[in-house]
Amino acid sequence: MALVLRAKFRRWLRGGDDGIAAKVRRKNQINDIIWKSLPSIRLSLLVAGYAWMLAIPLPNLGRNTYIDENALQPGQVNTYWNWPHVFRADRYLESLEQLRDQNSTNAEWAGYIKHEFRDLGIHVSTQSYHFTNASGEYNGTNVYAVLSSPRASGAEAMLISASRVSLNGNLNLRGIATVLSLAGYLKEYSLWSKDLVFVISDGYLEGMQAFITSYHGADEPNLDADPLTLSSGVIWTALNIDYPGHSFSHLGVFFEGLNGRLPNQDLINSFRLVSTYTGGVPVLLYDHRDPREVPHLESQLSIIPTWLPDVVKKQDAVREYGFRAKNILKHVGYQARGQTNGVHGLLHRFRIDAITLFAVPSSGPHGFHALGRVVESTLRTMNNLLEHLHASFFFYLLVKPGTFLKIGTYLPSVILVSVSMMFTGLGEWTDARWYEDLSKPKATDKSVAASGGIILLERPRPVLQALLIMLATHLAGVALFYIRTSGFAGLHPETTSLTLCALLALPPLFALIVRSSPSERSAPIASILKAANLCLASTVISVTSVLNFSLAAVLAVLLGVPLSYSSYKSALPAKIGRYAIYVGLGLGWLFCEKEVQRAIWNWEILGVWFAPFVCVVYTPLVLQAGIVSLLPS
C-alpha cells in the first residue's frame, strides 16, 4: 500500500511526461491556492495580532525577573545608615521648609544647598541656565557636588539627584534633604570605586536637562547655560530621589525615558530586591497600587468595568489581569508619547541607566530611615559594577514588579498586524496588474494566466501619480508641524487648529472630481495608492516596534483596520462618510489642547520626537487612506 502511495507521490513530483512543465504547473497551482486564500490569511493574521495584544496581561504569561549581571550582588551588604543621619536629614528639612515659607528665590535655594555641601567638605558648584521656547522662558540654578572617591582614578561616576519639583507637582523637599544627608554620610566610606555626583536640579525637568547636556557637551538649540566648573568621569548609573509627601508606604519606580528608551532592567530588578529585602519597603510600578491590597480604593484603582457580574469581577485571575493591564496601559501611555516622568528619563540618551525612586505619599509607615537604607544599599550594588550594564536587557515589558515579558513574547503581536497590512498591500498591488477581459482575447500582446478560465489581461499601473499624492500628503504634514509649533499657534491654539484642520481636510475633496479612469486598460490610482500606503504603514510599524514598542502598538491599533479596509468602490455619500472618519482619525488630536501643548513642550525643550512623528508620519498615512476612499474606482 505504502509503496503504491510513494510511487504515486513520486510520479506526481516528477510530473509524469514532461518534468519541467509539470513543475511549472505545480508552481502555478500553489500560487493559485495561496492567491485564493490570501484574504483569509490576512484577516487571520490581523485577528491573531490583536488577540495577542489582548493576551499580554494574562496572569500565566510573563516570567519572574532575575539579575543578569553577576557583579551586582544586590542586597548582599549591611547598611549602616541610622538615626543620627535621619536626624541630620530632618535638620536639613527644617531649613528647607524655612526657605519654602519665605518663598525664596532660586539663588537663595542654591546658595543654601551649596553652603551645606561645602560644610561637608565636598567640592560643590552651581550652574544657572535659561531656556526659551515658543511658550515662554525658564530660568533656574542647579547645584551639583562631586565627591571624588579616595583611591579611585575618578574615571567613572554615579549620579544621585533630586529635582526641586516632584513629579507630582509638589516641592521635593524631603528628596533634597535625603540627598544632602546621604552626601555627608557616604563621605565617611572609602570604598567607592566611582565618584559620586550629587545634583540638586532646579525646576522639574529643565534643570537636569541643562546640567546633563552641558556635562556631555551636547549643544541644545534653545538652552543657554553656564559651563560646568567641576568635572568627573563617565556616569554609568543614576538614582533620582523623589519624596514629596510626609511619609510613604511604597517605593514606586519610574523608568521610561525620552523617546521610549528604557534603562537596563538589571537596575530596576536590583533596586526591587534591595528595597524589598534590605529596606523592607514594597515596590510598585509607578504609583499604581494593587487594588486587592486596598479594598476601599478598589473602585477607583481597578479598571475592571463595574457592570461585570461579581462572579467574574471577584475572580482572582480577572483582578490579576486588570492589575497587569493597568500597569501596561500606564507604560504604553508614557512610552508611546516618548515623554519621561521624572528626571531619570533625561539621562538615558547619554547611556546612563537611571530610575526615579518615588516615595508614594501616604500616612506611613516609612520615612527617611527606610529610604536612606534602600539608597545606600542600592548605591553599594551599583558600586559593584565592573562594566557598563550591557546584557541585552533593554527590551522588556514590566507587567508588575518582579514580573516581565521578554521581547519575544510581546513583539510578535505588532509584527503580525504589520505583516497582515503588508500582505493586503501586496494583494492590492497584484490585483491592480490584471483586469478581466470580457471581449474575445486578441492574438497580440497578452499574457494569460490560466486561473479558473477567466482571461486576465495585464495593464499598466500609474505608480508615479500615487507616489506624488503620498509625497504631497507628507509635505503637508511637515507644514502642519511647523505651523502648529509656531509662535502664533502658541498664542491662538483653537483658531490654528481649526484652520489647519480645514486646510488639510478640504483639498483632498478635489479627488471627487477626478473622472474615473477612461478604460479598464489602466489600473485606478486608488488601488495603487492603497497598496503603497499599506506597504509604507506596515514598514513604519515594524521598524518602530524595535525602537518604541508602545508607539508601534498604538499605531497598529489605530492604523491596522482602517488602512487595510479602506475602499474606493462605494457610492458618493459613503465616500464622504468614510473620508470624514479618516479626517477625524488623522486630525482629531489637534483639539486635545493639553496633549498638544505638552508634546510641543517636550519637543522644544527635551527633543522628544513624538510631535513631529505624529505630524509627518501618522497624519499623512491616515489622510492617504482617506484620499483612497475618495478616489474613483
Binding site: Q76, V77, S149, P150, S190, L191, S193, N383, N384
Partner: protein, 340 residues
Amino acid sequence: MANALGMYRTVKRLGIPDSNIILMLADDAACNSRNKFPGCVYPAAARDLDLYGDNIEVDYRGYEVTVENFIRVLTGRMDSSVPRSKRLLSDDRSNVFVYMTGHGGNEFLKFQDNEEISAFDIADAFEQMWQKKRYNEIFFMIDTCQANTMYSKFYSPNILATGSSKLDENSYSYENDMDLGISVIDRFTHYVLRFMESVNKTSQATMQDLFDMYDPDKFASHAGVRSDLFNRPIDQTLITDFFGGVSQAEVLAPEEEFYYSSTPEGGHQQESESFTHVDSATTSGAVKSNNDEIHGYSDLLSVVQDLQREPPKRDTTGLFRTWVSSGLMFALVAWVSMRK
C-alpha cells in the same frame, strides 16, 4: 580569591620561599577600592586572619592571567626576557603542587570570564612537563563546580589529583561577608585549610589523612580523589612532600590564581644572593654639591624661545612637489582631451 590566598599562606607557612611560589591573581580584591578593608583578604566573615598580610608577591595579575600564560608557566616555554620570578624552575626532582579555583564546569575552568581552559589542555601540559623532566610528582587540587571532571583526562605518571565536587555538582561557598557583600571562601578549601593548620614542617600527616577528612555533608558536594597515576601508596605520602621543605608546589585559580614551586637550585640561588651582600668596600663620604644646574624646564624654555622666534615652518618641498604633480596631472588631462 581567599581560596588561593589561603593555599599560598599555607605553603609559605610550611617554609617555601616566595621565589618558588608562582601566584596568579586575576582581580585585585585586596586593594580594589571596593574593598572595605584595604590590603586585606579574609577567609572568613569573622575577619580574624588576614591572608594578604603585609608580605606577598603576586607574579601574574590582572590581564596577565590568561590560559596561554598558565600553560607557558607549566611547560616552561617562555620568552627569553621573562624574569625568573615568573617561571616555574623545576626539574625531575621537584614535586609540584597545582591548585586551581574559580568558575568551572564540565571539563573546563573559566579564566577571566572570557576564555576557558579544558581538562585536555592541562593533561597535555602535564604530559609535556613529564617529557621535559619538569617534575617528579604532581599533586593537583581544584575547587570549582564539577571539579572532578578537570582531572579525569590526566594520563601522565606520578600525578595525584583531588577535586571538590563531582560531575553535575556545584561546590558551594562557605560563608558570606555582609560588609564586603561577597562570599569569601569555598567550603572545600575552607576545610582543607583548616586541616592544613594542624600540619607543620615536621608533621607526619599523610595524604590519606587529608582525604579521610573529606565529608560530603560539610562540603555539600562529593570531593574526589584520583590516585591511579600515582605510584606511591597514599598513606605513605607525606603532606609535606608537596607542601613544605624542599618539595615544590604550585597553586592556581582563574578568578584568582596562584601556583607555587620550589626547586633546590632556585633555593640556593636565593641563598647565594642574600650572602653576596657582605663585602668589603672603602669609604668616601662625598657630600653632594648643589651646583649642577640641570633643570628640566630650563632647556624647555630654550625650546619655547626658539618657537617664539620663528613660527613652525611648513615643509615647502612637499608643497612644491604637490604643485608639480597637480600641474602634471592637469597637463595630462589637457593633452588627452586635445587628442582626437
